[in-house]
Subunit: 211 residues, 2 copies
């Protein structure tokens, strides 16, 4: 399969394709035209054709896309079949919301353990996931293969926990704190900054005031 | 103040500037060079100068930026002083995590009410916010000014609640469900898609495997 250098903008859209194709596949849809995919996703049909052409020839003129093949190919590109393993740091409200409701498996991850300081939950199980004492973090990481840490600790602890994870060789951090983390380039950091998102929405509705 | 047409990429960075300037301001920092702001934010100094020049002349050669002035100006652009009012739909784990821990006020919003179907919490107060029956949604929106709805309902209800909000004239939806919502262009939708974010992180660490 041809594989050109892919822009960040295309990479950022791939998860949306993957998620929509998963929904279509689960709903039993076998094939879809770029027009129908466009309508479902709110991306123009020509943008879709251009994006997907980066990864080879998926569509057939007059047929459209085979949903399951395209889902599998994009999943392969995203690495969903690599059996990524995650741990979660900080089993407070947000941490528990993710543990109980978020489908890590649909993004190609399994959640192996959670870490907290609260004696009321340490050494229990939440949503089927063992909760360990954060003091055991380094020992755990020496023993188990872990690719990514989900960071749902209080902001005041974010950098010190990050430093510990980096020293232990973690490869990725999914950061839900509102802190800008300092980490070496060898550790990928993906931020979910709620405040930035709400500020953007505030701008969008303020901007429409002016028109 | 001069105000050019601003690109989406710049708009997306403004909340990060605002958040970092807030942190600096709270820490008592009076002025900062673009170099130091660059180091704190992980954006190049020339990018910072270019971004901020879209909104007028903030920096002074040899002085840098006045933190509080710049924070106030960017806050003004983002609309944080407009007293936006939000409601939250679905006070489950994630909804409660936001109600209890997220500082709506720092993004210029107040959370006026939450709506749920669970009789155990309807007509109680969570984190100081009244929880009402979702059956009262339309009546509430006729009576109260609400700018934005925070959508933390189960995915299966996301579109039907969106339709009700749109009919009631809501101007913005902060969507935490994993659904692509259908809404008219007059309703701004800002998505927080956890799965897309984790898939991107999975791609980043998979990509580094190949190198």
């Amino acid at each position: 399969m041809k594989r050109e250098k892919v822009s960040t903008a295309v990479i950022r859209r791939l998860p949306r394709y993957y998620r929509n194709l998963e929904d279509l596949s689960r709903a039993g849809t076998v094939r879809i035209s770029s027009g129908a995919l466009s309508a479902a996703m709110g991306i123009t049909a020509s943008q879709i054709r251009q994006d997907l052409s980066c990864f080879g020839e998926f569509g057939l003129q007059g047929y459209g896309y085979n949903v399951e093949n395209l889902r599998r190919e994009i999943g392969e590109i995203l690495g969903v079949n690599r059996g990524h393993r995650a741990i979660l740091l900080g089993a407070g409200n947000l941490g528990r919301a993710l543990m109980e409701n978020f489908h890590f498996d649909r993004s190609g991850f399994s959640l192996a353990a959670a870490f907290d300081v609260d004696p009321a939950i340490v050494n229990t199980t939440l949503a089927g996931v063992p909760v360990l004492d954060v003091a055991e973090l380094e020992a755990y990481l020496r023993k188990e293969r872990v690719d990514v840490a989900v960071l749902t600790v209080p902001s005041s602890l974010a950098q010190s926990i990050t430093d510990r994870l980096v020293r232990a060789g973690i490869r990725g951090i999914w950061n839900f704190t509102n802190m800008e983390l300092t980490a070496p380039a060898t550790t990928a950091v993906e931020n979910v900054h709620f405040a930035d998102s709400l500020l953007t929405l505030g701008y969008m509705i303020s901007d429409s005031d002016k028109e």
